[in-house]
Amino acid sequence: MRRPLLVLFALLFVLAACGQKAGVRDTQQVGASDGIGSSSETTAPAVDGEATVPTTAALPGGTVAPSPTGGGSSSGGTSAGGSSAGGAAPTTSTAAPVAGDRTGISDQVIKLGFHAPVTGAAPVPQESFRRAVMIYWNWINANGGVFGRKVEVTFKDDQFNPSSAVQACRALVEQDKVFILLGSAGADQITACAKYANSVGVPYLSPGVNESDLSSLPGYFAISETYRQQSPMLGQLAKKLSKAGKVAIVIEDTPTFQDSHASIVAAFRSQGLSIVYDKPISKDASQAEILTTSSALRGSGADVVYFLGPPVTFIPLAQQGQGQAYTPAYIGPGLSNGLNLVAQAGCPGIGNSRFLSPFPEMDAIDRLDPNYTKQYRAQTGQEPDDLGIAIWGVSKTIHQMLLAAGPNLTRQSFEKTLVSGKAFASNVYPALRYTAANHFGAASAHLLQADCGHQRFITAATFASSL
């Protein structure tokens, strides 16, 4: 009986030690035109020299992105093995010449690193994320790329956990040698990663969340309004919505949200509203806590509730409120990517909620950027959703920045371009204008409103800077 076990263990042990075989990495590579990415069956060799630019990005297994010099072999720390054309970029390194740091840039490719929670406590919907992540860049790459370079996005899951986020970002920087890092959702994760990125001199961009921890980082740039910046607008909104003049504040219990809390308190006060409830809510709130909170909210008489926390907490809170015959207007600086899922899960409880968001909802996107739905349908054959808009918008903003930075791209020139005073407008995310002193360059947001009749959110206002 013992012998098979021995063999199994021995096998595992040997496999662990038998070295780096050509295979897939744990990175989740999304090659520019490498249609099959990391699926194991791909054994197409990397083709040296010129590759025809694919007309559409969805040519599976067809053309492979041009291999950078030295690709394929497992020298040094960067090769991803034979199958993944996007893996290797040993041509440039941190030891680049005086011209600047060209890590992640080659003549053919610009590599971006992207982290988001697809697992963990409050993950973004995986399938939908999976579909959306390369749509914008596939389209750009198919039309010549950025100054002839293809953009590749390497994605890693941060598990909605700051600690995993740092690891993901470190792997993106060290293993995948990306040019810049992008964050998407989750304030704690973004803060942790931004600090890391700053410590190794890699530019980091994300939708703005909390300001206090990030404003001191020279390499951090917010591509939307921060929670603090949104507070005055939310104050006005609360003033408009509240009949009784009584408002409540429910914020997830993390130090990251301290400045958000201070700013919303100030905003409510300046609108002359009286704050009748102000208590944090636990990260993993139990049934009893949610019931107690909703009951206390009802007891306080607040008819507007500012909520800042993950959907996993918001949805049961709103539903429980409805069960307690309590339906205040919930407002806030946006739940994480993809509000329509919140609507599907939370209606009718969330029926009376309005959130600010860096990107518009499905009802307005065609007016602002008709290419999105077209490309989404063409590339995936599926109906587009709002998570796709979020990713599309980020990508488009980065594209503007890369174009502005010009063909002689380095990390230094990129950052210099950002703070040159130029405006970057994607027409999806708010227009951005940074200065050397201010890396929080957005001045507007979209206002989204729940529409429980159709279980979705609709865009009540686009690019509002006050209400």
């Binding site: 697809v118 697992t119 963990g120 406590a121 409050a122 993950p123 919907p125 995986q126 598990q159 219990d253 208590k279 636990s282 993993d284 139990s286 049934q287 009893a288 806590e289 949610i290 019931l291 107690t292 909170t293 009951s295 206390a296 009802r298 007891g299 959907p311 996993v312 949805i315 049961p316 409805q322 069960g323 307690q324 015959a325 599907q344 899960a345 939370g346």
Partner: protein, 290 residues
């Protein structure tokens, strides 16, 4: 405020009682602390979710989900518990913890990490109003279920041949076998029953806040064990009462202003409660000293 906390505690504690019942059932009949009890429920919710999203009517999907839980319980007994019948009880505990972890792994794999919503069996939210707290039909159903199950099981264990045989088998397996009782079958029956109870707990509480991998283990296993300890670990109605006590203490801890600066006051309250009870009355509040 305190009176309200009492009501909230009772209605949330009933769910703990349901988990505790399954734990007590297994412990009473085999002396095993079953760490997989929560996952019996989570697996059932996943089955319910798969069923309803594939267009199976709700009631049928619930039945299928309970069936899945029962099969899971049966397989656990056959593959893990029975071969370890002679092993120390801590060994079996480790094995059931392994089963729980396995279930979490499979759930992650099949359903991903998403927290998902699922419709309740009964939708009316504001059926009853006690001390300004509305109690939904789903919660009433949970309370009713836990009371009925506790009483029925108690009756089974004190009045029926089956129940007495189970108890006898746990005390004196050889003697019971000599009396012509098939001890192995009893063991299977107990685990299937426990898994069914777990499944009921899962499909009833899953809709309250949505579910994810391992949700019943993380939200109710520790509370369920504490409830069982309060109930003396062998008393079935005691498990229900223990659940209510835990629920009330948690909701008091949540609303207590002097605990406002303590992070995770509910978990802290649970830990302190368990330690205090075990130190003061190791046999539990309702249990009798052996």
């Amino acid at each position: 405020m305190t009176a309200q906390a009492l009501v909230i505690g009772i209605i949330t504690g009933a769910a703990y009682g349901l988990v505790a019942l399954g734990l007590v059932l297994v412990y009473k009949s085999s002396g095993v602390l079953n760490f997989a009890q929560g996952e019996f429920g989570t697996v059932a919710v996943y089955a319910l979710w798969l069923g309803t999203t594939h267009g199976i009517p709700y009631v049928l999907a619930v039945l299928i989900a309970l069936g899945v839980a029962a099969v899971f319980g049966f397989v656990t007994e056959r593959v893990v518990v029975r071969p370890l019948a002679d092993a120390p009880r801590v060994t079996v505990l480790v094995a059931t913890a392994g089963v729980a972890l396995l279930a979490v792994g499979l759930e992650l794999w099949i359903g991903q990490a998403q927290i998902r919503p699922i419709a309740p069996a009964l939708r009316r939210q504001d059926r009853l109003r006690i001390l300004n707290v509305y109690i939904s039909d789903q919660r009433l159903l949970i309370i009713l279920t836990v009371v009925v199950v506790a009483l029925v099981l108690r009756w089974v264990f004190t009045r029926t041949f089956l129940g007495l045989a189970v108890l006898a088998a746990s005390e004196e397996p050889t003697g019971t076998r000599l009396m012509g009782v098939r001890v192995e079958r009893l063991s299977s029956a107990v685990w299937v029953l426990a898994a069914l109870l777990g499944g009921v707990a899962g499909v009833l509480t899953g809709p309250l806040s949505g579910f994810g991998p391992g949700f019943l283990t993380s939200s109710a296993l520790v509370a369920g064990f504490t409830a069982a300890v309060i109930g003396g670990f062998t008393s079935l109605p005691g498990a229900f009462l223990g659940g209510v006590v835990v629920g009330v203490i948690q909701s008091l801890a949540t609303s207590a202003s002097w605990l406002a600066d303590v992070p995770g006051p509910q978990t802290a309250a649970l830990f302190v409660l368990l330690v205090v009870i075990l130190l003061a009355r190791p046999q539990g509040i309702l249990g009798r000293a052996s």
